[in-house]
Symmetry: C2
Subunit: 212 residues, 2 copies
DNA sequence: TAGATTGTTAATCGATTAACAATC
DNA sequence: TAGATTGTTAATCGATTAACAATC
């Protein structure tokens, strides 16, 4: 199977949400049309996307809902617990520490870090906050390969460098800065202003065009 | 000029960040190559994207940096102040109320709302929190057309319905739920699990492939 | 059995990249 | 002036959609 297209990959978690809702309602099978209706997409797109997870459906019946959920979770890597650290325990960092959705996806923030002595030593939503000089120790101890960055712009590159120095392989970057990393490190940007721009322009376009 | 492609639109705020940095350093002109190097993109893509904002550059010289910043900000709609409301003053809502980046883009959260009587009546980072039954009053008073939703999953659709009832045109949805809206309302989802899925799969792919 | 739904192969659509003439 | 950079037109690439045979 080929590498999954990025747009398809982004849709998988949405499918998962829909499927989990249906599962909770007691459904045992689901067709591409069922999912498509829920998300305003076309059934053919759902079938194509699902195929990347390796799931095989049954003509006339659809997909076994448990199998399908399992296939998506396995494909994304949400079946095993992934430990990670969070750097920057400000308001956004705190919000992420308290975000219940991560547990459902088996993401476990084992430790947070901050330079501010007012902040380290505390426990936020069950996660201990350490001073920055404990970073290497904790990451090595728990064999962590992923980090979340929620520090202010001016600190982002320094924090990134520290993380790279201790061997982090993936960074989820919530700071509104383009961090520079070597080619073997994966970065996912999460830049609020991108979403805001999309919303603004879509709203303007909606004003002047017929809604399709 | 045609409608801007979504990927191009998402890149504009990234260009803006780079340009503002260069402007702060005293630069007066910038070439597509300069921006491309900063973001690991190709110059031709930057030129194509910039053209959508209506900016015209000078061969050999590049773009006037002030003009270019202005063109992007005007195109997105970040030149005028946009007032909005935020519904759900939990940890994520609080983080957004404290996010300094919005001021730079002229987004002004004029009021927050919550059903919890422990929360309304307070002021968070300068923004007053009201009870939900004040929603219509505030939105009409300040002529608000945009809302941010940061409520838990189970409340998202109810809140959406209330917002639509009072005439909201655009919703920035941070709750991990697919909300249903009539066709004239624009929604921008901001679903953390999509980003997480992308990061996970990219990290796995990086392990098994040569880094290009 | 008949028809609904899958998965595959082909066609279309849209975004990115390349080529190059125009020009400050 | 010469060469670096723009903007346009064409080519390529990749994702979405359509068509349809296979089948539970």
């Amino acid at each position: 199977m080929n590498r999954i297209p990025l747009p398809s990959l982004r849709r998988l978690p949405r499918y998962l949400n829909v499927l989990e809702n249906l599962q909770r309602q007691g459904r045992t099978t689901v067709s591409a049309t069922d999912v498509a209706d829920e998300l305003d997409l076309k059934p053919i797109q759902i079938r194509k996307d699902m195929a990347f997870t390796g799931i095989v459906g049954k003509p006339k019946v659809g997909y076994d809902i448990n199998e399908l959920i399992d296939a998506i979770r396995t494909f994304i890597g949400w079946h095993d617990v992934t430990p990670c650290v969070l750097v920057g325990s400000g308001s956004l960092g705190t919000a992420l520490l308290g975000y219940e959705g991560f547990a459902k996806r088996n993401l476990k923030i084992v430790a947070a870090f901050d330079i501010d002595s007012e902040r380290y030593g505390r426990i936020i939503y069950g996660t201990p906050v350490f001073s920055m000089d404990k970073l290497a120790e904790v990451i090595e101890r728990d064999n962590i390969s992923m980090a979340i960055i929620t520090v202010p712009t001016h600190a982002a590159q320094d924090v990134t460098n520290s993380l790279i120095a201790v061997g982090i392989a993936g960074i989820w970057n919530f700071s509104p800065t383009e961090i520079q990393v070597p080619p073997h490190v994966v970065v996912k940007r999460e830049n609020l202003s991108e979403g805001l721009a999309v919303l603004f322009v879509k709203m303007r376009e909606r004003q002047f065009r017929s809604p399709d």
